[in-house]
Symmetry: C2
Subunit: 389 residues, 2 copies
């Protein structure tokens, strides 16, 4: 075999469901010299990363760290540490990621009770309260921002009903963290996981997680070992603890450099400013798309700002448009997942990719593709409407 | 909280048990623009990476890919996919990593039979044959290069006895791959895992794995789901297959760029040249250390070239010497693990770090530290002996 050529990645604009665009300073941090996983320098990077993750999660939780895998490893880490075989877990399934959580929990012997809603809808506090009262689950798992549907699950009230029944609330914040308020302490969430490659605008490869004292107590009370050695928090936390630093596995050094810098970018901007930016660009995109006759797949009040799921206009070829956007404009958007495949596009406005520049460019590029596909679009309507209320 | 400063990692010479030094061109590849995990460009990177991994593993195995986690995730991926609850697994434990494999297997309900040897020793084909004949395990797990002890397990003959009893041979090649012959097809190994940060000289974060057709058949014959969703090869392999490309999890894009470039570096040099380089520098280090009165912890015929475990001279403070090496010379070496803690040093000569320059520098630096610690060392003896037989 001849040797493949050196990789020369194209410069995309990442407006899909993640990864999102990574700022140059984060890529530059990623390429820093590698040190050992027990080097005093790296231990300091870990400490600072934990401090910054606590700020981004808005929590005082001591057990807050980055799991050495992508977002789905974060999901698995939370579920396998909180659940023992036979434990009851109530999971809200209204998209692909709720379904994935169910699969993860069943594999380790959880007794899973599923609450379902059609893709694009969310759960009311009342229906969760009723299910919690009936089943008294040890853990309730919900997806804050369903990346597969673009729907936002309100969480403010839910921990009360879960705690009242003695349960723990586990939340998937993969797509929301850094782009929408995720108030771990205020909302009394017991465990949460995220990914680096969405609104934190770091490459994929790590999964920030946080566990409340209540969750840690439940983990400490286990009578069986965690099914996964790699994700066992009783050992991982000793490596991240600045008291013990017991070697567990070799941490992905470079990815941790990148996350450290990405968190610095997030906190320099300030979380509240960041949330406003996500909201404003989302509303602009929304106005632009609607002026072009494109409809959202989610009711207005439950729309995610960073992940816009819209119906593909009648008669338009999904893949053709996405290929043209990619090949002609270098813009990636996502197709639908699960039952939404071929029916929706998923347009991301995450982290560094959530800019006025990208919104206007995308609207102009999409108009170009749609008109070539024979759609009736008023020329310039999307761009004209976006930032003018 | 004030924001921590941007990371500015020191430039170490990594001569510990891994990570090893990463060539600048690999770090540069790591920092390439991020694309989506289903981008045609990235799918090509995956295809090429698989082709190069097959060459490095010396196998035709179709199911050869990089697991999205560090080496221990590769270990877990192999064990959890091959073992179902109640399956018998025979594991050779002569160091920390054999012990880890036992822990991983027990957590998912394997009936583990342990073959033990003191740290630093290896198993004979005869004793493995006897245990296999007695227990008829589904899987036999052995560590090729025990990073905790510096011992090399001969493997050439073992698959025959394992296969004769209907079992599968699983091998830990974390530290050997790229620095010592790992002949997956010739030695008929059924499953193997490695890490990127040892002799492949890529940052830590991915775990190359390979499975024989026999192993894939065993996985396909499972009657239970794999305990880990994240590591379930029945799904992971569809994402890596150039026929299906079914989305599973978001791959760590940047780490895969780095592995692609690191494999190019390995294959440009050529595996055989690389093995000779590891052997020659190991022998030079060995002559230098012996001239300084330092003894190896492993019998000569079973010594790993890339991981030199030596006894700390009587009366010398382990941590003080390692700190001085790190702080004064920027050289990282490893301490002992498990029962070897405080008794041995582990000196790595892995991948890009395995050079004449590093061997001579290390011998000179160690002499400096030892003489300051009051050791009797003939001045210049180590450096003088290293490359002169």
């Amino acid at each position: 075999m001849t040797l493949p050529a050196r990789t020369a990645p194209p410069e995309r604009i990442l407006m899909g469901p993640g990864p999102s665009d990574t700022p140059a300073r984060v890529l530059s941090a990623l390429a820093g010299p590698v040190v050992g996983h027990l080097d005093p320098f790296f231990l300091k990077v870990m400490d600072e990363t934990q401090q910054m993750l606590r700020q981004v999660f808005r929590t005082e939780n001591k057990l807050t760290l980055a799991v050495s895998g992508t977002g789905s490893a974060g999901m698995e880490a939370c579920v396998v540490n909180l659940i023992e075989p036979g434990d009851k877990m109530l999971i809200g399934v209204n998209g692909v990621f709720g379904g994935r959580m169910k699969d993860v929990a069943e594999r380790i012997g959880a007794e899973v009770i599923t609450l379902t809603r059609p893709f694009g809808e969310v759960f009311s506090t009342e229906e969760i309260a009723a299910a919690v009262a009936e089943h008294k689950p040890k853990v309730v798992g919900l997806v804050h921002a369903e990346t597969s549907t673009g729907a936002l699950q309100p969480l403010e009230e839910i921990s009360k009903v879960v705690h009242a029944a003695g349960g723990l609330l586990l939340v998937d914040c993969v797509t929301s963290l850094g782009g929408l308020p995720v108030e771990i302490d205020k909302w009394q969430i017991d465990a949460a996981y995220s990914g680096t490659q969405k609104c934190l605008s770091c490459p994929p490869g790590l999964a920030p997680v946080t566990f409340s004292e209540r969750a840690v107590a439940a983990m400490d009370a286990r009578t069986t070992k965690v099914s996964s050695w790699y994700l066992d928090m009783s050992m991982v936390r000793n490596y991240w603890s600045n008291q013990s630093r017991a070697y567990h596995h070799t941490a992905p050094i470079s990815m941790n450099y990148a996350l450290h810098e990405a968190l610095r970018v997030v906190l320099e901007e300030g979380l509240d400013n960041r949330f406003v930016r996500h909201r404003e660009n989302h509303l602009a995109l929304c106005r632009g798309l609607q002026a072009m006759g494109i409809q959202y797949a989610v009711e207005e009040q439950f729309r995610l700002p960073m992940l816009n799921a819209v119906f593909i206009p009648e008669g338009v070829d999904d893949k053709q448009v996405r290929s043209r956007l990619l090949n002609e404009f270098g813009i990636e958007i996502g197709g639908g997942l699960g039952p939404m495949a071929g029916k929706t596009w998923r347009i991301g406005l995450m982290g560094a990719a959530c800019t006025k520049r990208n919104v206007l460019l995308f609207l102009a590029a999409l108009e170009d593709c749609l008109r070539d596909a024979g759609c009736e679009v008023t020329p310039g309507a999307g761009v004209a409407a976006a930032y003018r209320e």
